[in-house]
Amino acid sequence: MRLLIIEDDRESADYLVKAFREVGHIADLAGDGEEGLSIADSGDYDVLVVDRMLPKRDGLSLIGALRDKGNRTPVLILSALGQVDDRIKGLRAGGDDYLPKPYSFAELLARVEVLSRRHGGPAEETTYRVGDLELDRLSHRVARGKDELTLQPREFRLLEYLMKHAGQVVTRTMLLENVWDYHFDPQTNVIDVHISRLRSKIDKGFERPLLHTIRGAGYMIRDGLR
């Protein structure tokens, strides 16, 4: 995956470039809004990571300029402003995801990977399959092997989201945002409990577990070890 990081704080920019390269991505760097705009426009990137407050041209206007030129590269906005309406403003300006600072690298990585997949991925399928687990989005049926599984509506949506991003790390806040549509940060491990309930339904009694906990990051559904 080719990434462009547009961030004016040298230290965090270097940290991000290094961290992305360590997990096998190609990451370029731009130090201000104007430079970011010209590099983003000329290069072929899978995802742009844009700081909201940049010298010369701020993040939102950079995104607006890119979109005006017809550039549809997914953009993740990083911002010290983490409130709900700032988030909405960022998404309205053409951003695809919004992550308030301070963030963990695991969270950023998970979101960037989901964004890049969305951009290049296939059209939405009606059936998701992971190993012998099958989810039919139209009839709302879930089966593992020959066993039909009974899920609550919310458990279904949770599994649907995980399976849509099968093989990718999905963080707790991503789940809270996409499955429950809440953008606040619960003080407790409320998501973990939902996951463990889901896990008991889809993995309990089967030899190969499919729903994995990724330490320090979140969860991932996949068949066997990658």
Binding site: Q83, V84, D85, R154, W180, Y182, F184, V190
Partner: protein, 486 residues
């Protein structure tokens, strides 16, 4: 600006001038009306008298001839304060009467006219005005009878004088009154300005003087004082926050630093380093959460989140939060229940959801029964947490009830303040911001967070103003929905 300049620039003074002009016009028109009517009355009176005398004397002439006429006229002309009489021959020679001279042509025309005249034998060389009637007798002799208009002129003079004086009095009193009122107003405004300057200089405890008359300035001062009260409360809140931040954020920061230092100081195995680092990250996550909560409270309290207000049903929020927390409560050995009735609201759905989530988290954390009773029935209700949404008159109530130890009445007000963690809960994790965030959210929506007794336990209720409009709009939306589905 000079003091006088300031005075005449006041609204009060300008208004007075306008009123002054209006009153002067009124007085002038009143006097004009009076003068005109008086004049008409006097003229009428004179003409009646003169007409009567004309017919009387014409009658005498008819009965007693020229001699009788001359005799009567001469006789009457000599009385003090007499009318004007003049009898002339057809050639214009004066035979009898008391008129010395007349404006030319008066004797030639019959009927009423106003003329200048001079009394016969009057040594003063001045003309008077008179209203006269001239009639021709049968033989060609002409008779003039008239009355001096001096009376009318004097009357008119009196009215004119009255007009002058009343104008003078109106103007003097008006300006004096204007200055008096303007000074009074200016004095009070100056007092207000002075206080405002003091407040701007930093003394937030200053308040505007409020008089006892309850007039518009008093009401303005009261509103401004209420505003100052709010500003002072906000400033005090801000100061408390910074004090509390200093205390409650520095403590975990210190812990964080100590932990890192300790890990560095002793050489350890990789596993030990790893666990030390993980604890450090956990600690910093906790700090970030506290920080976010603080920002959210500040935002809600300053009213900035008003932009995202939408119509929604509090019942949906209650069901959503119940759905999110039910498994967590169950894992903790609690039973989370929900009971809802439609309660339309206009507000920030995200913030209200978060406020309710905080109340539920508190109930799960602190709402455990103090001692588990042996009786199984009692035990099952004691472990119950109830989320309730309903409308009560003009309010929407979103409440969370647990059956734990509750909060003693004396501590309830205190419990809502930032960072307050009651003694009993100090050992449990948490930032101590949950209730104050819920309270700030309620205040933002024009409501309040109330804490009550659930005998035993705590009922925390978000009391929010209901929105009838939101109810109507929501009903319209749900009516549309089946059509869309079809």
């Amino acid at each position: 600006m000079t003091a006088f300049g300031k005075l005449i620039r006041t609204t009060a003074f300008r208004l007075t001038l306008v009123y002054l002009l209006l009153f002067a016009l009124f007085a002038a028109s009143l006097l004009a009306y009076f003068a005109w009517n008086t004049r008409r009355l006097i003229t009428e009176q004179i003409s009646t008298t003169v007409s009567a005398e004309i017919s009387e004397i014409t009658d005498i002439y008819t009965r007693r001839g020229l001699r009788g006429l001359v005799f009567t006229v001469e006789n009457r002309a000599l009385r003090p304060g007499a009318n004007l009489y003049l009898v002339t021959t057809p050639t214009g020679q004066m035979i009898a009467g008391n008129v010395g001279s007349l404006a030319p042509g008066v004797m030639g025309s019959s009927g009423w006219s106003e003329t200048f005249y001079r009394r016969f034998g009057d040594p003063r060389d001045e003309n008077h005005r008179a209203l006269v009637y001239v009639t021709q007798l049968e033989s060609g002799f002409r008779l003039l009878i008239g009355r001096d208009l001096e009376e009318r002129r004097r009357m008119f003079g009196i009215v004119a004088k009255a007009a002058q004086w009343s104008m003078l009095v109106v103007i003097v009193l008006g300006i004096a009154g204007g200055i008096f009122v303007a000074r009074r107003v200016l004095h009070r405004i100056d007092a207000m300005t002075g206080t405002t300057r003091r407040i701007m200089a930093g003394d937030l405890s200053g308040r505007l003087p409020v008089g006892r008359s309850g007039d518009e300035l008093d009401r303005l001062a009261e509103s401004l004082n209420a505003m100052l009260e709010r500003i002072e409360a906000l400033m005090t809140g801000l100061k408390e926050v910074s004090d509390n931040i200093a205390h409650d954020l520095k403590t975990p920061l210190t812990r964080l630093r100590n932990r890192a230092e300790e890990a560095l100081a002793k050489s350890r195995s990789e596993v030990e380093y790893r666990s030390a680092l993980e604890r450090t990250i956990d600690e910093s996550d906790g700090l970030i959460r506290t920080f976010n909560a603080l920002l959210m409270i500040a935002r809600a309290e300053s009213g900035q989140a008003r932009g995202d207000m939408v119509d929604f049903d509090a019942a949906d929020v209650a069901v959503g939060i119940h759905e999110l927390y039910e498994p967590l409560a169950e894992d903790d050995g609690m039973a989370l229940q929900v009971k809802t009735a439609s309660a339309p609201l206009h507000g920030n759905r995200e913030l209200i959801s978060q406020a309710l989530a905080n109340l539920v988290e508190n109930a799960i954390k602190y709402g455990k029964p103090v001692a588990v009773p042996l009786d199984a029935d009692v035990a099952s209700t004691a472990r119950e947490i109830l989320i309730e949404a309903r409308q009560d008159g003009g309010h929407v109530l979103l409440s969370v009830t647990d059956h734990g130890s509750g909060i003693p009445e004396a501590d309830r007000k205190h419990a809502i303040e930032r960072f307050v963690r009651l003694e009993a809960s100090r050992t449990l994790p948490g930032s101590g911001l949950g209730l104050s965030l819920a309270s700030a959210v309620a205040t933002l929506h024009g409501g309040a967070l109330t804490l009550g007794d659930a005998h035993p336990g705590l009922t925390a209720t978000l009391v929010l103003p209901a929105s009838a409009d939101a109810g109507a709009r929501l009903a319209a939306q749900t009516q549309d929905m089946p059509q869309k589905a079809a």
